[in-house]
Symmetry: C2
Subunit: 540 residues, 2 copies
């Protein structure tokens, strides 16, 4: 994110940030009119028009997100097509609302007069203008077709995964790529199609940016992994066994609560592939799964999704009915989830708290386990085929595989039928792992079936954001070990809320890193962290 | 429904019905253009305009119904206001979509040229025009305010019921009545406000209609009840005891399946006050509850809600994305649910099937029960304060209480603070029952909190519709006892699907009764049924 193209925006933000020095609460800077008092009345009418637009977009977002969430959790199989149709129509309406020529004129005028707007309205105009520019030239029929296709393909993927049947999903993946390529071209014919989608999920990013990032990560992780594999791996015996699923669901709830999720603004449910969502700051959702023979999968899924939930609940509630609601980007979101999953959940200082919780739910099963044994077990480096079960060190390599395959699909170097072969080859080469079948290979994740092409790289980037935030937190004087040992994570939540969460989408990721850490994004925080942690753990 | 004001419509329908004699499947009568071939092109453009409108209304209905359903089942407490806001905005959009002056002109033109339309399009125009007329003069702000108010009041009622706290719900009820009275006046300033809402739920009904109906019911039920109470009541011992809630949920699913609900187009969930909903024919929902000490409450709730589900799943799927989707009226809907709850579920011939199902789920608990004992137990006449637990005979008196109180609230004869007193007094006078508290009194039902004022009378009317349909079914040669004894209800479902369900809203209730039974609605089928059943049961 420290690439050249971002320089202007970052410095502009820096000024912004300084001018807000005495106004830490974002909403405090908002005028009721949205425009400064001496702004002309025409400008106020423009602000009124976008505020009206925001209300409609909110209602649609609420309807769309809830339908999608319920679709992935509780809706019966026969409901799929009807839901797809409803979503496609709502999606057409979104396009009509945002992309009218009148709204284009309004947004252009507001952009030209941005200096006369209060900071929040200015941020709204920036985000809305970006959506407008992205969507105005997209054929609404293509968007609606994609919505219908994705609604259908999620079910197809679900069944394909259960029956290890790549062939049934294959044509859907090809159709998704073709349609997303076409839409990317309509969005910006001058840009590479995959770049368009990377930028959609991570504003300011591109293949160039991620190539640099992954090169840096690979340079650190691959030799480290080779060194680690010369050593004896710690035992996982203490976390193995059978754990009653009903108790695991109670444990899941307790983990969310321990993490600090507001349980009165939260729904925990079950699904095949865990995910989180939020309708507003008052309604965060986690869909999780439990496996009888793997309690730690539950623990780390909950810590991960809980990080997403905390981010969404921590956004300024004044943003709820506006386009500034929700997290800044995919990477920043994963930055929060992987923060709680790894930097908190896999830290030695947190092990006693975690162990006590496990022992409370599974009396007798972990009585003789020590915090140190638990710590070692959950940090055992072990290349294996599943991203969701990966240790912290090999994790970014799982992402790299997906990033490279997505690139090939978008460039036309590969089509869906090539994916299982590419998958096996890359897992062999980067991780030394044999992929047993497609269920544990290219069908393991729901992302492609849900149209989230370009989303994966954000997981690795999120790990790097999190490492940089953690270093800054400690530099600011937060007692890291003390906080984790106490089991009360409030100081960490407070810091993240103050520097990241509250801003929602009013700041782009690069701005957030700059304002939180007083420096540009730098992946060496991440690579240093991995080197230090695993060198110590494996006595390298 | 046999009142004077309906005469014209019924005879018009009769012609319709005859002209469709060779076209039993409604969708077979539909031209792709919606207008007959020789219709002018302007008419075709009008049809295209309403088809476009229908798509948008469908997407909104899908969003609104799902949000409301999830709101009453799984949404966390803090999400209420945000959901209300989203629903209020969608509701404004509905108004804008339907009530534009252009749409008014289109609907008027289509109504004037109805004879040139195919029967389905003609029905769509009729239903849309009725909605248009009802809503065009309503201030959209009032509608949105009501949506917000109801979203909030549902939660208030829920807490009030749990804590027996009428006072906290009281101001909400007053506000709901005031707002609904205002909206009724906007809809039709010449009509009585309560009549407007009765007509909304039961097209063609009014206080005059219900006064006649309830007088007839009261004349039959009150003396019958007096006679019954001179006799010894049968024992309920065989259905008493504690029944494991988890097993009860499995039983609930089996009842829906036995009844014939399509389980691939169905979601069963839990709530405080049971209800059913449907998003399309492919997605029917039942929200039920189980009480550890009352397994028959579960059984009859499931039979009841399953009747609603069957109706919704049985509508012509071609109506899904149109205003003809869903049931014809509240009364006709309750006609189906109470059909399965009472005419099937409480029949002697069905007792062996029901008993076998109970014995399968609760081994040991009902081993010595006979079908006859079960039949007598579930038909024990016992005035008590809860509508949902009422026997078949006293049930309409519970409805009468609500009808009379709603009328007084709308006429201004009473306000919310008078309700608990009126409730006690009327329960004493009609049922001879002492109401122990508001939780078991005026707070027992969710309807008022959800704005369903004018809905209750449909429950009693539904019982009467069902009795008439049952008599016709038998007159048509359906082997009633044989079907119920076999446990395979397909012949009953087929008859109801053929005569009622498939038509959705394309026929009004009076038309449906006329075409299904070849006579006008007549409540004596209901009163005769009650007299015969309970005279025999109690040896009167």
């Amino acid at each position: 994110m420290a690439d050249e193209t971002r320089a202007h925006e970052v410095s502009a933000t820096h000024q912004n940030n300084e001018s807000q020095a005495n106004q830490p609460q974002v909403d405090a800077t908002r005028h009721p009119e949205g425009a400064t008092k001496d702004a002309p009345s025409s400008l106020r009418a423009d602000v009124e028009a976008i505020n009206k637009l925001e209300r409609h977009l909110y209602a649609h977002r609420y309807a769309e997100k809830s339908s999608e969430t319920y679709g992935m959790t509780i809706d019966p199989p026969k409901a799929t097509a009807d839901r797809g149709e409803a979503l496609a129509i709502l999606c057409e309406e979104d396009h009509d609302l945002l992309c009218s020529s009148r709204m284009g004129t309004t947004l252009n005028r507001l952009t030209a007069n941005a200096s006369q707007l209060d900071p929040i309205t200015r941020a709204q105009v920036r985000v809305l203008k970006r959506s407008y520019d992205a969507q105005v030239n997209v054929d609404p029929n293509d968007d609606a077709s994609l919505t219908r296709l994705l609604t259908e393909s999620d079910g197809v993927w679900r069944r394909a995964k259960l029956s290890n049947d790549w062939a049934s999903f294959e044509p859907y993946l090809d159709r998704i790529v073709t349609l997303m390529r076409r839409i990317a071209h309509e969005r910006d014919p001058r840009r590479d199609a995959y770049d368009v989608w990377l930028d959609e999920y991570e504003p300011g990013s591109s293949c160039e940016f991620y190539d640099d990032f992954f090169a840096q990560v690979k340079d650190a992780v691959v030799p480290l992994l080779m060194d680690v594999r010369t050593k004896r791996a710690p035992s996982r015996a203490c976390i193995e066994g059978r754990f009653d699923p009903n108790r695991q669901w109670l444990l899941a709830k307790d983990i969310a609560q321990l993490e600090g999720v507001d349980m009165d603004a939260y729904w925990l449910t079950a699904t095949e592939h865990p995910f989180s969502e939020a309708l507003t700051t008052h309604y965060a959702i986690t869909a999780a799964h439990v496996h009888e023979n793997d309690v730690m999968s539950n623990v780390f899924t909950m810590l991960h999704e809980g990080g997403h939930n905390l981010y969404e609940q921590g956004v300024n509630p004044a943003f709820n009915y506006t386009s500034l609601s929700g997290g800044s980007s995919a990477g920043m979101h994963e930055g929060q989830s992987r923060f709680f999953e790894n930097y908190v959940g896999r830290d030695r200082a947190f092990a006693p708290t975690l162990l006590a919780l496990l022992q409370r739910h599974f009396r007798g099963q972990m009585n003789r386990t020590t915090p140190q044994q638990l710590y070692l077990a959950v940090n055992r480096v072990e290349p294996q085929p599943l991203r969701m079960e990966a240790d912290e060190l090999t994790y970014p390599l799982h992402i790299l595989v997906r990033y490279e395959i997505e690139r090939m699909l978008f460039s036309g170097e590969a089509t869906a039928k090539d994916v299982p072969g590419l998958w096996s080859q890359k897992y062999k080469s980067y991780l030394g792992v044999l992929v047993p079948d497609d269920t544990h290979g290219a069908l393991q994740d729901s992302h492609w079936a849900d149209g989230l092409m370009g989303y994966f790289p954000g997981y690795a980037l999120g790990g790097a954001y999190g490492a940089q935030l953690r270093d800054q937190m400690i530099a600011d004087g937060l007692d890291w070990e003390g906080t984790l040992s106490s089991g009360d994570l409030a100081p960490i939540r407070d810091w993240l809320r103050d520097r990241i969460w509250q801003y929602g989408r009013s700041k782009d990721p690069a701005e957030l890193i700059w304002s939180a850490c007083h420096e540009h994004f730098d992946a060496t925080h991440y690579t240093n962290y991995l080197q230090q942690k695993f060198s110590k753990l494996y006595n390298l």
